[in-house]
Every structure is written in C-alpha cells, then in structure tokens.
Symmetry: C2
Subunit: 385 residues, 2 copies
C-alpha cells in the first residue's frame, strides 16, 4: 500500500441552479479541483451520485462526466451508497492509487436535485431507505430521523433545544463560509418556531435540497510533493461500514453502528483516536444526526451529544469544532456530492485557508459521511503531511 | 500490487421472475458464489447495478445487499457504469484486493427489470444514453444500435444475414447452457422474419429484458490456493475506458474506441494479444455489437466481424469461440449483472466445467462488458492459475 495525499479540492456553485445541469455542476467542481492541484491531467475518475436516475433520468454518470470534462478515454466509474456516495467514491479512489493501478485520480460527487416536481425530491431520496418495508408505505427521511430523535430524547433526555442549537451553530459557521447555500444566522427561537416537518423535527432542523458538485485530486504522497501547487494533505485513515437498511431492524435506534465501525477502522489505520482530532465534519442531514454521529465517533460519550452542543464544545473555538463549513444544514446537501465536500472543508482547514472559520493550528481532521438512516457510513482521517 | 484470483462464481435464476425482488436475486447469486468458493466469510462487497432507482425505486444497493446477506457491518459499495456496472464492480474489487485493503471480496451485479409498466424498461435503459441530447428526444437503445448497424453495413458491406447469424450462433450456444433465459435454437429465417424493432434490427437481434444477478469471490492468488475449494482462476489483465456518451459525437460510428482502449490496457497487463485467447465473452446487447466488439478487441480486422461470423470462426469449435454462454442474446441481460455473469462463463470454461459448450483445453479467456453505445467498457483477461 502506498501513502495517498489530497493535492486539490474544488466545489461548484451550490443552490437552486436553473442554469446548470448535472454535467455542468461536476465539470465546474472538477476544473476547480484540478486548478487547485496544479496538475494538467488525471488518469481515472470516481464520482459519487445517489440517484441520477430519479432526479435527472440520467445514469452512466462516470462516462458522462469524463466526456464533458474532455478526458475520455480514461476510466470513469460512479459509486453509490445513497448520501454516502461521495465518501464511497473517495475510499475507492484511495484504493485505485494504493493498488498502483492509477497515480493521479479525480474523485468527487454530484447531484442535481431541484429539477423535479413537488414531492419528487422526497420520493427520490426515499430510495435510500428500504423501499419495500419503509418508502413504499409512505415513510420519508424526515419521518425516519424524527423517530430516531424521539428515541434519543426518551433514552438520554436530549432536549428539543439541544437539537435546535445544532442548527444555530451550523448556520453561525455557515455565515463565515462564502460557499454556503444558506449563510444566514438563525436563532434558537427561529428554529423552535419554524414549520413542523416530522415531529420533533422542524424545517430548520433539516438540511436543504441542493444542486451541487464536489471534487478532489488524489495521488501517491511521494508524487504529491513533486507535482502539487500547494502542500499535500495526507489521508491517514479510511473506514467504511454498513448497517441494516431499514430502521426497524436496528438493535438500538439511538446509536449509529456503521459510523462506529467505520471510525474504528479509520482510527486504527491512522493510529489515533477521537481525542486527537482538531476539526471534524459530520453528516448533519438533520440536527439529531449530528448529535448521534458525535456519539458514534467517540467525540462524546453515548447520550452526551446534546449537552456537548449546549455547552459549546463543538462550536468554533470549542473543545472540538464540528462542521466548521456550516455542515449539510447551512452549506447545503447535494446528496451524492456531500462526502467529498466534507473532504474539501477538512483540506481547507488543514491548509489554513478557512478564513473567518479557521480552526487555529488544525493538523488532523476527520470527515464522516452517511447514507440513509445510517445503513452506510464512511470515515476518513486527514493530516498535514 | 498483488496477484488476484477468482475462487468462486454464482448466478441467480434469470428470467421474468415475479417471485423474486432485487435483493432476493443478489442474495441467491452471492450465496451460490460463496458456496462455490468454499469460504465462510467475505470482507467487502462491490455490486454493479445500472438503475435500481428507475427499475425498482431502490438505491443504496450496497447496504441493501449486505443487510440481506446478513454480513453488515462490512463495507458495501455499488458501482454504476450503465450496462458495464458489474464490469466496473469487478475492476474495483480487484483494486480493493490489489491494494491490500481487503482479502476476500464478494463482487457481482443485479438488476430487477421486469417490474415496470410497458415502456418503463425502455425509458429506464435510455438513462444510459445522453439524456439531454438523445433520450429526451425519443431515441431508444435499439434505435442507437440500429444507426451503428446501418453505418457498419454502409462502410464495410456487413450484411443483414451476418447480423442474423450472430443470433443463430448465440442461441445455439445458449441451448447448451442450463442457465440461459432463452435456450431455444433459432434459424436465420426466423431472425430475418422476426418483428422489426429499429431498422435493420429485429426482435431476434436484441437481447432480452431479464431479472437476474451474478456474483464472484476474489482474493489474493497466494491465499486462493489455501482457502478455495476449486482451482483458482487468475486475473491477469484489467482495463476500463470511456468514450463520448452521445453517439453523434463519435469520430466513427463503426468503431468502439472505449473497448479498444480497455483491451489495449488489459492485453498489455496480461502480456498477451487477441491471438492468444481460447474463449471470449462479449457484450452482444444487439447482434451488431458482437461484430463491432470483435473488431475492437482485435479478434478480426476492422470490417471483418461479419464475414468471420459467417465463416463460423466464432462458433464452438471455430478459431475463437465467442459467447459460449449464449451471450446476452440467449443467456439474458440483467444489465447491472452482465459483467460478472461473463466472468462466470469464462471461469466455468477455464475450470473445464462448461459441459456441452466446453472449449477443449481452454486456458485463457477474455470478458468484455460495455455501457450505453460504448461510452464505457471494461475488459478482463483470466487464466488458469
């Protein structure tokens, strides 16, 4: 196995973008990443996309983006693990480099989510749940996470206010991120007074629907120092795991086993633990998920996610800043692109390029990406090389 | 890089299977592959699926199959490259083993295609073409391949009869394959008299719609000899490439550049050429594609595919038997599963287990899998270890 480094990162514009199609979005992110890396070619592409079929009637995403980047005939493969599709792409790209099959690899993700009729996005996203036992019967993702939230509140005493404070923190961070889709700050009162989606989750507990793409360039560490424009960031840990796809089959609704398993592997590989991290991006598709992920990553004890948020431990300047980018909540959540957008934030932090949201002296960061209600998870640890 | 071997292969039932869902199909194939390998656990899964979203409103295919196999929390990732999705999964699995990230990996593909309304399958498959420039305007896959067929006939004099003889040969082979969906023999007269789909392609020029799954178990060659029940088959070459997704952007409608590029890499890696192969499986989604793939693989000169079929060179007992399984045409074509089903046939041949369709003394085989009108292709070379 070879050591692998990230040498470039890039994003497309994110938002409700009527002038950009799926292919446009990925090309924009990819060109930004290639420019950031300072390379003039790549050897292979791995691109995450959750459901190009249901959102855009377009599959064959790998060939599509290779074509529109003008880089055919290089190999290009789409990976899919629901909202962890780009996390899975990143892990696959590491293997492609690790294995010696390729040196300079472009990896990223894309989702064009807004070009569907009302209800279409909710139905498309439901394809990440168990269609036969959940979605078919009308359960939606806000509904599933609402059940997890209620269980967490019942078991640990997590409060409605603590959930709301996740949104307050993430919008505060997002207000410092020029890339955020919803950069406005919100107050706890606004969260608690926002429209109900699935009790107890309100609209300001939910991440938005986003058109967007993300990209990164990875290569062997030893090559990075020669070809990259900026200091490389080393990937020291990678883990991926699964859990039951249907929520009703979990042993415990309040604990994300797949995130814990993926993290265990990544920590082991990197030779570090949750106490050794300077900055963390987690998959806060809903406010409750940030709290549950913190617990599964071992950043706090089980049940202590809510109190930690309330105490400001995860705010900028706190013990362990979480979602300095604004997270999915404020930055936006183009589902198939999110995993590599998290890598983008960690790389930005480790380079000291995060501006007003910079974590001083950050040298080691973690990105956790999740699919469905946690049936898939990837965890990556990155360090200053 | 480590040498990788295939130690087990398996298929589900293939056909129009009202009693089996997408998850059932993959589990059936996977258990057959694991049983064939003789192992009692796997460390990771890569599963090809073209459009679980449009065919079954189900994405998150990796977690789904890991869950229903009862193997969570192991990592599971879906790959998608349209009809080359399983070929891409196989190549990704090789990298996972090559890189030392995993030892025993389950790889395969699945598609549940028949559970849609009339026209639904045609529309779902069209997502493999360029949605914005092809499918949206009503072009279908038979239409696209019909254009390629007409161009090939015009440029090289390929005849309507030569196309038909591909179907005759593949059904002859399929009649010897207990796994074929359409094992009946057909005559040239029947092909030429069958209903027109897209001129010049008739229904017996087209591969069918199939529910089905495929699976294989791969591991390091040095481990294979210790853990496998049967003699391992070594993977000596792997290539993947892309081309423009839309047909109208090709320089030459009659040549499959992505297959040629993928083959060049695979031949180079294996240290052999087209003249060194004993048995070949190609992606005959339409009769014209078998002819074009033969030319792109270098089995024959450009334009000589039709005459070679007419001369019986690719029949069982001919110079280079092609699609001994019956090919997509007779065996069936569950799109996301086909790539690993081709690996299944080559492994079966190299083990000497192909019964009435056995190529005597086969020691080296090639499997070519293709997406769209050739925007993606994978080529793998396997040899007796």
């Amino acid at each position: 196995m070879r050591d692998v480094a990230v040498i470039g990162v890039g994003l497309s514009a994110w938002g409700e973008l009527w002038d950009r199609s799926l292919r446009d979005l990925f090309v924009e992110a990819a060109l930004n990443a290639v420019e950031d890396a300072g390379v003039d070619s790549v050897e292979a592409i791995f691109v995450g996309c959750m459901t190009g079929g249901l959102f855009a009637q377009q599959e064959h995403i790998g060939a599509l983006v290779a074509d529109y980047l003008g880089v055919a005939p290089i190999p290009a493969t789409r990976t899919e693990s629901a909202c962890a599709s780009a996390g899975a792409a990143f892990r696959t790209a590491l293997m492609a480099v690790d294995s010696g099959n390729h040196d300079v690899v472009l990896v990223g993700g894309v989702e064009k989510m807004t070009d569907v009729d009302g209800g279409g996005a909710t139905a498309a996203l439901a394809a990440a749940s168990d269609q036969e036992y959940e979605a078919f019967h009308g359960v939606t993702f806000p509904g599933l996470y609402a059940m997890m939230a209620r269980a967490h509140m019942a078991k640990y005493g997590t409060t409605r206010e603590q959930l709301g404070l996740v949104a307050v923190k993430n919008h505060e961070n997002g207000s410092k991120n020029p890339h955020a889709q919803f950069p406005m700050k919100v107050t706890l009162e606004q969260v608690l007074g926002s429209v109900m989606v699935a009790d107890p989750l309100r609209i300001l507990d939910c991440s938005p629907i986003t058109d967007g793409a993300s990209a990164a360039v990875v290569c062997p560490l030893e090559m990075a120092e020669k070809i990259a424009k900026k200091a490389p960031v080393r990937v020291t840990g990678s883990g991926q795991a699964t859990d039951s796809i249907a929520l009703h089959q979990r042993k415990d609704l309040t604990f994300l086993e797949s995130t814990a398993a993926a993290a265990a592997r990544a920590y082991d590989m990197a030779g570090c633990g949750p106490g050794d991290l300077d900055v963390v991006e987690v998959h806060d598709c809903f406010t409750i998920s940030e709290i549950m992920v913190m617990e599964a990553l071992g950043l706090v004890e089980k049940g202590q996610g809510g109190p930690a948020v309330e105490a400001g431990e995860t705010a900028l300047g706190g013990r362990i800043p979480v979602n300095t980018s604004g997270g999915l909540k404020s930055k936006g959540h183009p589902v198939g692109a999110t995993g590599v957008a998290q890598i983008h934030e960690i790389v930005t932090q480790l380079r000291g390029e995060a501006g007003d949201r910079q974590v001083a002296g950050a040298r080691r960061g973690l990105a956790q990406n999740m699919g469905g209600t946690g049936a898939s998870a990837t965890v990556h640890i990155l360090e200053v090389a």
